[in-house]
Structure formats: structure tokens, C-alpha cells
């Protein structure tokens, strides 16, 4: 059996009358980067939030190392969550705190390290994301790309085993996107983490992914290495990866 760190089994989730996930099955291999592609509004973020217990499924199971998140209480869930880091779409930095307090937040919450040591870790993480010395800045003084990088520094502050990325390159210029992609590859290679990345950026996906999965109409319709995905005969997959408006996916 393959080594999967996260497994979604037959997950269903509706919001009101809108059925977002309809029997989704997905396995995330340990220590690899998996990129989930799919159209806007196809439920990628919803799926990602299931993996960390922010959303509970209406039906189905979410397993992290074989433990079922869907039946856990708050305390157990928090224990599992300390193994995760997450980069939100707009970084979700606490805008009442400066960069130092943002990045040190998980450290001061979950470790007993003295302040001096925490400052050192923060400085190191900020250097890792290419933003040394910005500790005193407030989030609103940073550009979108910088905020995402600070968000990444915060996500890796506790050296998590699993990092979830919600559209890390959306809304960034090509150079910044490339820088973020390199950071994802770099942290993966350096820390050996499992990464799950949501993206519309097909080129970026080919570059960073060991494993690509496509979400369409609430299910995973294709999964494999970037080469396998490109060779996938499914018309929906082909239409999406080549960005064509005509095809089985109704665009407008």
C-alpha cells in the first residue's frame, strides 16, 4: 500500500442547495507536493478546508495519518492542526499585529521558547522567504506578494509536516509567482514536507508538482504526475489544461 498522509473518502458537502463536493476521493502522498487544479468555484478551497477540519463534511471521512478528523472534538482537532501550516489566499495576516508578532504567533502559542529564541526563528523564516528585516512592518504596509511571503513564513514557523496553500500565486505578477513557486519547492525539498497546493496556474503546477489532481463537479476526475495529466485523454482535463473556452466545461 502506498504511503498516504491525508485521505478524503467519499466526501460530500453542500451549502444550502448548492452541492459543492459530491463524493470526492483523494489521497495525498506523504512528503510530496500535490497540486489540485480546477475551475473557479469548483470547490477547491472547500476541499482544502476539509483537510484541516475547518469544514466538516456532510458525509464521508477525512483521515490524517489514519485518524478521522470528522469525529474529533476541539482538543483532538487542535492537536492534529499543530502538524499543519496553511497559507491563505490573501495571507490572512492579523492586521492588528506587526510582522514579528504575526510570524511568532504560532511559536508563542505552542512552544515554551524564550522571546529571544523566537525572534531568532522569526528572522530565520523571514530570510527563508526572502524578506529579511521586515519584522517591524504592519501588514498594510506590505504589497500583496510580500504579505503572501510573510504568510508563508508564519505557516512554516512551527516546521509543520503538512503545508496547505490556497492559491499561492493568484493575483501576483509572473516574477512574483515564480518566486513563490520556488519557495514552495524550496521548503518542500529542505524540510521534506507534504504540500497541498490549490492553483489555476497550470504552468506553475507542472513545475512544482509531483502529483496533480483535477477537481471537476465535486469529484477528482484525474490524478497523476504532470506528464500523466498532460497525456490524459479526458476532454474535460484537456480543455482545462489548455485553457480553451470551447469544450465539455461550460464557461459562460
Amino acid at each position: 500500500m502506498d504511503d498516504y498522509i491525508i485521505q478524503l473518502i467519499d466526501v460530500h458537502k453542500s451549502f444550502g442547495a448548492q452541492r459543492v463536493l459530491r463524493g470526492l476521493n483523494l489521497n495525498i502522498p506523504r512528503g510530496r507536493t500535490t497540486v489540485i487544479i480546477g475551475g473557479s468555484g469548483s470547490g477547491k478551497s472547500v476541499m482544502l478546508k476539509h483537510m484541516i477540519g475547518l469544514i466538516r463534511p456532510d458525509q464521508g471521512q477525512v483521515l490524517v495519518d489514519g485518524q478521522n478528523l470528522t469525529v474529533m472534538n476541539d482538543r483532538q482537532l487542535n492537536q492534529v492542526r499543530t502538524r499543519f501550516g496553511m497559507l491563505f489566499q490573501d495571507a490572512a495576516l492579523f492586521d492588528s499585529m506587526n510582522v514579528l508578532d504575526n510570524v511568532s504567533f504560532p511559536l508563542s502559542e505552542h512552544t515554551k521558547k524564550p522571546a529571544a529564541e523566537i525572534h531568532q526563528v522569526v528572522a530565520e523564516k523571514l530570510r527563508l522567504v526572502g524578506l529579511p528585516g521586515v519584522e517591524a512592518k504592519m501588514p498594510n504596509e506590505l504589497s500583496g506578494g510580500m504579505r503572501k511571503r510573510v504568510g508563508l513564513a508564519r505557516a512554516i514557523a512551527l516546521e509543520p509536516e503538512i503545508i496547505l496553500f490556497d492559491e499561492p500565486t493568484t493575483g501576483l505578477d509572473p516574477l512574483m509567482s515564480d518566486a513563490i513557486n520556488r519557495l514552495i519547492m524550496g521548503t518542500q525539498a529542505e524540510l521534506g514536507v507534504t504540500s497541498v497546493v490549490i492553483s489555476h496556474d497550470i504552468e506553475g503546477a507542472y513545475k512544482i508538482a509531483h502529483n496533480v489532481a483535477m477537481l471537476y463537479q465535486g469529484r477528482i476526475i484525474a490524478q497523476g504526475s504532470p506528464d500523466q495529466i498532460q497525456a490524459n485523454p479526458d476532454e474535460v482535463v484537456q480543455q482545462f489544461i489548455h485553457g480553451r473556452a470551447e469544450g465539455p466545461i461550460e464557461v459562460i
Binding site: 492537536q79 492542526r81 501550516g85 490573501d90 490572512a92 492588528s96
Partner: protein, 258 residues
């Protein structure tokens, strides 16, 4: 079929009120449970006490001073009709300590701090900062809601003491300074008629209003949906609902306590 429509509307409105009341109570219960569970965040609590309390002092002083002043002016007008001007001081003092101090302070602080709570938590919700707290294994009710509620419960009575005092001074300035009531009589009548229980009951009410203000502000903020427009809506609803609840509970509490 048309004739059932009004009933449907009434029923749906009633259900929504029940729904909201239930959610408010649930949030209160969750907060109460976190009160006894570590970690205790004194720094965050003190920051909220500063925000709700210290930074509201100016607006409370202004409110108290003008309320006391105008109350002296109005009651002087009434009492002078039958020569009872000497009672202006005690009337002002009783009205302030029992009623106007706690209620006006709470309404002013609701406009200032309750709205800010809804706006801040609402913004944190729509920008996923609340989700980020969950992801970092920190419970947002414990981190955000609890300190705001506790701070408000403590600070509103303190602010009310200021409002009571400044209001009586305002009444004194108008009554003695402008209208020529004898200073000794003004003060003697206050001492004679105002009981300690008048003050303490007013302070208990204020603390209860603090709970209402913070609970409603946090509740509306915490469950915000719909981006910037949603934050605006939550803020407005928080101020309206909290103010109405303060006025409603004021009647109930007064009927029970006095």
C-alpha cells in the same frame, strides 16, 4: 393561498428571532466555558480593557456633564413652579445613578466600542483571519470573544461611576452656578435622598449592559458573511440590536431590582 402570507411572514420573523437568541446564548455558553479553561490571556484582556474603558472616558465625561446640566435645567423649570428648587440636586443625582448614568454610558460605549468589536471581528472573518486562528490551533472564541466580554463587564460600571460623578457636577454647575440654588442645600439633599443601593444597583445594571454590548458586538462580527458590505451590515445590526436590548433589559432589571 394568499391569505396565509401574513402568517408566514410573522412566523418566519418569529423563528429568526428565536434563532438569533439561541445563537447568542450558545456563544455566551461557549465563552463561559472558556472562562475556566487555560490559557488565560491577561495581555489581551488588558488591551481590551484599555480600549473599552480608558479610551471611552472622554465621550462618557461629555455625555455625563451635559446630561447632568440639562437635567438640572429642566427639573429646575418644573420644581420652581411650586417652590421646590431645593430638590433639583437630589433629583439629578437619583436620575443619574439609577438610570441615566448606566443607560447613557452603555449606549455611548455601544456606539464606540460595540460597533468596533463587530467591525473588527467581521473583518477578521471575511479576510480569513478567524480561520487562520483555528488553523493555528487557537480557539477564536477564547482569543477574541472572551477578553472583549470580560473587559466590558468590568469597564462599564467604572465608566458609569465617572458618568454619575461628572453628571452631578454638571448639575451642580448649572443649578448652583447659573440658576442660583443654594450650594449647601443642593449637596445636603443629595446626601439625604441618594442611598448607596441607588448607586450599586445602577452599577450592576451597567455591568449587565456591558455583557450585552460585547456579546452582541462579537456575535454579529463573528458570524459576518459577504465581504465589506457584510462587515458594514454586521456593524449596524450590532449597534441597533445591542441598543434595543440594553433598553429592554433596563426595564426588566429595574423592575426586578428596585
Amino acid at each position: 393561498m394568499g391569505w396565509t402570507r401574513p402568517f408566514e411572514l410573522v412566523g418566519r420573523g418569529f423563528l429568526r428571532v428565536l434563532d438569533e437568541a439561541g445563537e447568542l446564548l450558545l456563544l455566551l455558553v461557549q465563552t463561559a466555558l472558556w472562562l475556566i479553561r487555560p490559557p488565560f490571556r491577561f495581555r489581551v484582556l488588558f488591551k481590551q480593557m484599555e480600549f473599552v474603558g480608558v479610551k471611552s472616558i472622554n465621550v462618557v465625561i461629555l455625555t455625563g456633564a451635559f446630561t447632568g446640566g440639562v437635567f438640572a435645567l429642566q427639573s429646575y423649570h418644573g420644581f420652581s413652579l411650586f417652590g421646590a428648587e431645593s430638590l433639583v440636586g437630589s433629583t439629578v443625582a437619583l436620575a443619574l445613578t439609577r438610570e441615566l448614568g448606566p443607560v447613557l454610558t452603555s449606549l455611548m460605549v455601544t456606539g464606540r466600542a460595540g460597533s468596533a468589536m463587530a467591525a473588527e471581528l467581521g473583518t477578521m472573518r471575511v479576510t480569513e483571519q478567524i480561520d487562520a486562528l483555528y488553523v493555528m490551533a487557537v480557539n477564536p472564541v477564547q482569543y477574541l470573544v472572551l477578553p472583549r466580554i470580560v473587559a466590558s463587564i468590568f469597564m462599564l460600571p467604572l465608566l458609569t461611576i465617572i458618568a454619575d460623578f461628572v453628571g452631578i457636577v454638571g448639575g451642580y454647575v448649572v443649578g448652583v452656578g447659573l440658576l442660583g440654588i443654594n450650594s449647601g442645600i443642593f449637596i445636603a439633599k443629595i446626601v439625604e435622598y441618594v442611598e448607596f443601593s441607588d448607586i450599586s444597583m445602577g452599577l450592576i445594571k451597567a455591568s449587565f449592559f456591558g455583557l450585552i454590548m460585547a456579546l452582541v458586538g462579537c456575535y454579529k462580527g463573528f458570524y459576518t458573511t459577504g465581504g465589506a458590505a457584510g462587515v458594514g451590515r454586521s456593524t449596524t445590526q450590532a449597534v441597533v440590536l445591542a441598543s434595543v436590548m440594553i433598553l429592554g433589559f433596563d426595564y426588566v432589571l429595574t423592575a426586578i431590582m428596585f
